[in-house]
């Protein structure tokens, strides 16, 4: 019956977290409808726009220094244009979350992103992120009868109704390691659009290749230089053809930047500093923006600070959303309704002199309406737009903008209170229950309370949230030391455990502040590529053969899975054009040729043809084997079904892990063996200790697998295994969770062997409940503190960059690791054991 009570507690806990999240991430109030000119509308309607042709080139993840910094930038043509006065450069601050979908919303509607957009970026075909009913400059363009052509990242096509584009083609980032084709698919349209069908008013291009290079090899990858030159030649081509007309504006921009390792999503200076260049023949006639005066591009970096202190601030700094009113003013269309951008002061001189004060007032009015604030309304109504200095109006508007962007969300406070209250009451209840149900108060029972309080209290400090892996590391070293002191004659076992956890720690970077470039996984990907593959094969063989040689059925299962798994990993690497040792490469090609019975194709294409079928075969095999194990367990054909299930799932986890992390599973296994023998022999399989250790290791390995509390490290590369282009979003989401939580799932399965091994069927649900009690308790206490810290710090500077992602991760841990893996899966496995 304990199980039912615990389940009830789990469900109430999940509900309270969900209530809190709904209050914390409310869907933003969006002003509906399209904007029209409000102030002197006739004058505005009849005014001549400053430009009548727009080419918008979005280069994904184009950080400011890629455009301007002498050390890294290869955009030589843009530098030349700028030095001749044809181009104005800017550093555009892109509001976090710095992922493509929210940034595109910012660039088109001018609004600051809703935090949930970052999550929805993954669930791309979710309709709630659609901009059909939201005012934006592309919609305004279409409404004013302008023809828009679009080629590039298909996120645009998900955002906008296709009717607004007179011609379009989407590309997608299906293979992150595709640097060439994805951009070629955009560029190949250019020739025709420039020469034959030059009747458009706006041409939008969105290139993904640079972002892919960043994800794969970081900002200093050897592919970066050629990519810069490729992009630069496209700009050159555009400027020398359509750009020769004075009334054409070419706008080159990044939607966001990237951090030192090439990821993005967070709020570090590198990620938020996107580059922006306005190019036109007309600009030559006007004065350059004051920050660019006398500056010769590329700028020699005077910054001698270490990499992580770089600020990426070049030339004039603006907010990225400022591009929206700027474009609207230049093309003389109304400012989109939800825009919080402020026109760039430097472009005012390009406007009709009669018009720019009207445009300013219009912009001011629109900010006032978005702010929905009495004081600002009063200020607006009493403002003297005719005579105040332009500079003062702009700075006034910048102040309003600052307020608007910092308070992008209105919290639903009653819901926050409800969620908080619920989890507090629940925690108190479970604490009493814990106290009375656990009879003796000794170290092994108090341990989980100490850990929960530590983690709970740490959620008030932003550095500890960012560097949470350090706390887990601290806890784990402490635990092993205590155990080593407690059992002085088990020196070898403790030494093995210590070395294992140290290797796990050294395998990967974690945390959001520092990154070392000599971690084991980086070394395996660079200097020791051959060794990586021998290690991977050794790991898979080791897991395949261990403990399954005594039973033919188990051996068949694991042999099948292991070989398909390694084949897929090799194929995936070949497709991504990474290094695979020659014999392994040849063997994989040979197998693929045999599979497709086609000997004429090229190596790469034969592998490509087989990639999805192999992955699907693997998934179906896992499913079939799980069912087979279940059946054989019922028929008593295999002795130890739990072990076989565990092994099958381990192969699934390896399958969903990056290839340079596969070796980690060998370390996990060694650690696991030495831990379980210690727990069984020295701690008499104590459920409390086992469960606590499992919890600590789940978090510890999650972080050392490259996970952090930032959205930037959510890894998507393995989420599309075996799915073709028309994918099912739930399946992709599931695969993404499995690949990001792979080590945590591994360690969540670890107690099974220890505590369910010699279990009596009539007692199994009690043991299950005892196993789950610490974890539920941990989540209650940690959740209590976390929700409280999010509530108290909801106006804190870091709330969107540090605490909200942490809250998202906490909710994901609860739903995926607790509910799905911890309860549904474990109950299913346990129900196999009977009699």
């Amino acid at each position: 019956m304990k199980v039912l009570q615990l389940t009830a507690i789990l469900i109430i806990q999940l509900i309270s977290v969900l209530i809190f999240c709904i209050g914390f991430f409310p869907s933003k109030n969006v002003l509906e409808g399209d904007a029209v000119f409000e102030i002197s509308s006739d004058a505005q309607l009849n005014a001549k726009p400053a430009f009548n042709k727009l080419v918008l080139v979005v280069i994904d993840a184009l950080r400011s220094d890629f455009l301007f910094d002498q050390d890294i930038s290869q955009f030589n043509y843009i530098h030349e244009l700028s030095n001749n006065g044809y181009a104005w450069g800017f550093t555009a601050f892109s509001n976090p979350p710095t992922v493509t979908l929210p940034r595109l919303k910012g660039i088109t509607t001018g609004s600051t992103p809703n935090f949930l957009d970052a999550i929805l970026n993954v669930a791309e075909d979710d309709s709630s992120s659609n901009l059909k009913n939201q005012d934006s400059w592309p919609m305004q363009f279409a409404k004013h009868g302008k023809k828009i052509r679009f080629f590039g990242d298909d996120t645009w096509l998900k955002l906008f109704p296709h009717e607004i584009f007179t011609e379009y083609e989407g590309t997608n980032s299906f293979f992150v390691s595709d640097f060439e084709q994805v951009d070629h698919n955009v560029t190949r349209h250019l020739e025709k659009q420039i020469k034959e069908k030059n009747d458009w008013d706006a041409l939008i291009l969105h290139y993904l290749g640079l972002d892919h290079i960043g994800h794969k090899g970081g900002p200093t990858s050897k592919f970066m230089g050629p990519k810069h030159r490729e992009m630069d030649s496209i700009i050159k081509n555009l400027f020398e053809t359509v750009g020769q007309d004075e009334n054409t504006l070419i706008c080159v921009m990044g939607d966001h930047g990237m951090n030192e390792v090439g990821n993005h999503g967070g709020s570090s200076p590198g990620e938020t500093s996107a580059g922006l260049v306005l190019i036109s023949k007309k600009l030559k006639n006007f004065e350059v923006p004051s920050d660019q005066k006398g500056v010769k591009l590329p700028i020699k970096s005077v910054n001698v600070a270490p990499e992580e202190d770089k600020q990426y601030k070049f030339l004039t700094q603006i907010q990225q959303v400022d591009i929206v009113p700027t474009l609207s003013a230049l093309f003389n269309i109304p400012f989109p309704k939800n825009n919080v951008g402020v026109m760039m002061p430097s472009i005012l001189e390009l406007l009709d002199p009669k018009l720019f004060r009207i445009k300013l007032q219009e912009n001011f009015r629109q900010l006032m309406i978005v702010s929905n604030n009495k004081d600002i309304r009063q200020l607006y109504e009493s403002y003297d737009f005719e005579n105040t200095e332009i500079k003062d109006i702009i700075s006034e508007m910048k102040d309003i903008q600052g307020e608007l962007t910092s308070s992008a969300t209105n919290y639903n406070v009653p819901l926050l209170y409800l969620g908080l209250g619920l989890i507090f009451i629940l925690t108190l209840t479970i604490s009493f229950w814990f106290y009375f149900s656990v009879l003796e108060v000794d170290f092994k029972n108090v341990l989980i309370v100490i850990i929960s309080l530590l983690i709970g209290l740490s959620s008030f400090a932003s550095s500890f949230v960012e560097e949470e892996h350090q706390i887990w590391w601290w806890i784990i070293t402490g635990l092993i030391t205590v155990s080593a002191i407690n059992l002085p004659d088990q020196k070898i076992a403790h030494l093995v455990m210590f070395v294992c956890v140290r290797i796990i720690r050294g395998w990967n970077n974690s945390g959001q502040k520092y990154s070392y470039d000599r971690t084991i996984s980086i070394l395996l990907n660079t200097e020791y590529e051959d060794f990586q593959w021998y290690l991977n094969i050794a790991t898979i063989l080791y897991i395949m053969l261990k403990d399954s040689t005594d039973n033919l059925i188990s051996f068949m299962f694991s042999y099948n899975l292991g070989s398909v798994c390694i084949l897929y990993k090799v194929c995936w690497t070949i497709i991504n054009q990474d290094h695979v040792p020659e014999p392994i490469y040849k063997a994989a090609i040979y197998i693929c040729r045999r599979l497709s019975r086609d000997y004429s194709l090229q190596d790469i294409s034969v592998v490509e043809e087989n990639l999805i079928p192999i992955a699907r075969f693997f998934f179906y095999s896992v499913l079939a084997i799980v069912i087979a194990i279940y059946g054989s367990a019922k028929l008593k054909l295999i002795k130890n079904p739990i072990k076989d299930i565990q092994k099958t799932l381990t192969f699934l986890l390896i399958f969903q892990s990056p290839s340079s992390y596969i070796g980690l599973f060998m370390v996990y296994d060694i650690l696991q063996s030495s831990l379980s023998s210690l727990l069984v022999n020295q701690y008499s399989s104590n459920v409390m200790i086992t469960s606590t250790i499992s919890l600590v290791l789940q978090y510890f390995t999650f972080f050392q697998f490259g996970g952090t509390n930032s959205i930037a490290t959510a890894d998507l590369t393995n989420a599309y295994n075996g799915v073709s282009e028309d994918y099912n979003i739930y399946f992709v989401g599931f695969l993404m969770c499995v690949s990001n939580f792979a080590p945590a799932i591994y360690w969540a399965m670890f107690p099974w062997k220890v505590i369910y091994n010699q279990i009596k069927p009539n007692n199994k649900w009690n043991v299950f409940a005892e196993n789950k009690l610490p974890i539920v308790y941990f989540n209650c206490i940690a959740g209590c503190f976390l929700l409280l810290s999010c509530f108290i710090l909801r106006y804190h500077l870091f709330i969107w960059s540090v605490f909200s992602p942490k809250l998202c991760y906490y909710a994901t841990w609860n739903i995926f690791m607790n509910l799905i893996v911890g309860w549904v899966l474990e109950i299913a496995v346990l129900s196999m054991v009977d009699k």
Partner: protein, 215 residues
């Protein structure tokens, strides 16, 4: 080999009213002569005040947290502490052992050897493997010389690890707890490796030498 020497040791006269000493005297008959009891007297004399002084020097007086100079100060003061305070509180059998100057030198060099396993331990506890090896080794030296009186006594008392273990544990514990401040984003110079851990292990040693006898 030090077994022979024991016979020559004079019984020292003490005016101490320490109860443990007399307590053990009464149980004289039960003493196993091959494994005589070893313990440290419960006295305030073992409190290592010099560690507080060194810490004060390290934190407030030395420029830029001069870890090297701190070590030069630590070694002699630990020897003095051993000779004048710690050794005279150590009871072996029911005697206070006379200070053995050769052994002082031997254990001084043995302590240096001990830094190698300590360094490995520090790395296992999470110090970087390649970078900052010098700093880690300095930390190992500090930790080892903090444990020096215990090392000496360990040699002097027939390697009975049992009672000396706690001194080592306190030093490790102090260092372990002090790691907490490293990830904080206060951007202070003292957050650099290994300064917090050195301070922590000093505090751990201070607590350890002061109260271990009472545990």
């Amino acid at each position: 080999m030090p077994v022979k020497k024991r016979a020559n040791v004079k019984k020292s006269v003490t005016f101490s009213d320490d109860t443990t000493l007399s307590h053990h005297n009464t149980k004289k008959k039960n003493i196993d002569h091959d494994h005589p009891p070893v313990f440290v007297r419960k006295t305030i004399r073992t409190v290592p005040w010099h560690i507080i002084g060194l810490l004060y020097y390290y934190i407030y007086l030395s420029d830029d947290y001069d870890t090297m100079r701190l070590l030069y100060l630590l070694i002699p003061s630990q020897v003095l502490y051993l000779v004048f305070q710690f050794n005279s509180a150590t009871i072996y059998g029911n005697k206070i052992l006379k200070i053995n100057y050769t052994l002082i030198l031997i254990s001084l060099s043995a302590t240096i050897l001990l830094t190698v396993p300590t360094l490995l331990m520090i790395i296992v506890f999470g110090a970087p493997l390649v970078e900052k090896l010098r700093e880690s080794w300095l930390l190992a030296l500090h930790a080892c010389y903090l444990a020096y009186p215990a090392v000496y006594s360990l040699f002097n008392c027939d390697f009975k690890v049992g009672i000396w273990k706690i001194y080592f544990i306190f030093i490790v514990l102090g260092g372990w707890i002090s790691c907490v401040v490293i990830p904080l984003d206060w951007d202070r110079e003292w957050q650099a490796w290994p300064i917090p851990v050195i301070v922590g292990s000093y505090l751990g040693a201070f607590v350890g030498y002061s109260i271990s006898a009472f545990t």
